[in-house]
Subunit: 203 residues, 2 copies
C-alpha cells in the first residue's frame, strides 16, 4: 500500500475533479484557481517518473496486476473511483460510488464507464478463479440506464477452456436490478500458466 | 463552449491527475500538497451545483449529447482525455492521447478504457448517421495490447434497422494496426425519432 501522503494526494485530487466539474464560481476566479493548481503540478513534477505507475512499480510474478495506477482499481489513480474489489473463490464483486465525472447521458453513468468497470471486475473474477490474464473479448448488453451514485458489480467464472476463462457479470442499481450484463473471455499468458504449473508441481 | 477560466481549470486539473500519479516527492510533501488542493476544492464549492453537468446544462432537443460533462468527450470533465470527435457523413473518428492515468496492464491502455472510448466514438458514429441514441449492446475484440500514447479511433455505420443503428469501429496504434475492434447497437429514443420525422415533414 502506498504511503499516507500519496493516498491523501490522490483523495484530494479526486475531490478536485468533482468540484471543478460542479463549480459555479465566476470564470475569473476559476482561472486564478487553475494557476494555483499549475504551481502544485510544478512542485509534484520536481521529482517524478516519466513512466506510468504499472511500469514503475510492477508486481513481481503478477505482471498484469496494477493496483496503484490502474484506471479502475488504482488507489493512486485519481480517475479511478477507485473500485475496491473482493475475491471469493471463483467470483469477484465490488460496491462503489460514481459521481458527476462518470456521466454519459444526463444523470446516468456513461455506458462506456459501465464497460470499463465490468472489464476490470470480470477480469478479476477470472483471476480469482486462477486465470489472471488479458481481455480477449467482451460482450455487453445494456438493459436500462445506470443511475449515478452507489452501485454494485459482480462477476463469476462461467467456464474453463484451456488458457481461457469465460466469465459472466453485471452491474446492479440500488434497487438490485441488473442495468448492464457482460460476458468476457480472459486469456492467461503462457508464462503465467507455466509458473502456475511449476508452483503446483513443486509446492 | 464554456468560458476560458473553466477550460483552464479543467486543463490544469488534467495535468494534476497525471503529475500526482507520476510524482516521486516524499510522502510528507505529498500530504502538504493534498492540503493545498483541499483549500482550492473548498473555494470551488463555495458556489456549486449538486447536479452532474449533463443535468445542469442539458442540450435542448438533443438530450443525449453532453459535451461538457461527458466522461469521454467532456471539455469540462478532467477524467475525459478529452476525445475530440469529428463527424463525416455516416462516420466518426478521433485522434487523442492517453497518458499514465489510463493504464491497465503495465505500459498499456486499460482494456476497459478502450471499451469506454469505443462506446463513445461508435455512439457518435450512429449519431452522425442520424441515430443519436443509447447503447443497447457492445461487442469488443482485443487483438493486441494498445500502447499508451497517441491513438486513433474510427467508427462507421454498418446497418440501419428501424430505430436501431449497427456501427463498426476500432482503435489504431501509431503504426496503423488495429488493436481493438468493436460492434455496437445504438437505439434512438422514440421521441427523437418523432421529432426527426416532424422536422422532415415541416421543413
Amino acid at each position: 500500500m502506498p504511503e499516507t501522503g500519496y493516498l491523501a494526494l490522490t483523495a484530494s485530487t479526486r475531490a478536485l475533479i468533482d468540484a471543478q466539474l460542479r463549480t459555479r464560481i465566476d470564470s475569473g476566479e476559476a482561472l486564478e484557481i487553475a494557476r494555483e493548481i499549475d504551481i502544485l503540478v510544478k512542485r509534484l513534477l520536481e521529482s517524478s517518473s516519466t513512466e506510468p505507475l504499472g511500469v514503475a512499480f510492477p508486481h513481481p510474478g503478477r505482471p498484469l496486476r496494477n493496483d496503484h495506477g490502474n484506471a479502475v482499481v488504482g488507489v493512486r489513480n485519481a480517475i479511478a473511483p477507485p473500485v475496491a474489489t473482493v475475491w471469493e473463490r471463483e467470483r469477484c464483486w465490488a460496491e462503489f460510488t460514481l459521481g458527476a465525472s462518470y456521466e454519459g447521458p444526463p444523470g446516468y453513468v456513461h455506458g462506456g464507464v459501465c464497460a470499463l468497470i465490468l472489464d476490470q471486475v470480470l477480469g478479476e473474477g477470472a483471476a480469482a478463479a486462477g486465470y489472471p490474464g488479458m481481455t480477449a473479448g467482451l460482450t455487453i448488453r445494456f438493459h436500462r440506464p445506470t443511475p449515478l451514485g452507489r452501485l454494485r458489480a459482480e462477476a463469476e467464472l462461467h467456464e474453463r477452456d484451456g488458457r481461457k476463462a469465460h466469465v459472466n457479470g453485471h452491474i446492479l442499481d440500488p434497487d438490485g436490478r441488473v442495468t448492464v450484463s457482460a460476458h468476457g473471455v480472459y486469456v492467461m499468458p503462457r508464462h503465467l500458466q507455466e509458473s502456475d504449473r511449476a508452483r503446483h508441481a513443486h509446492g
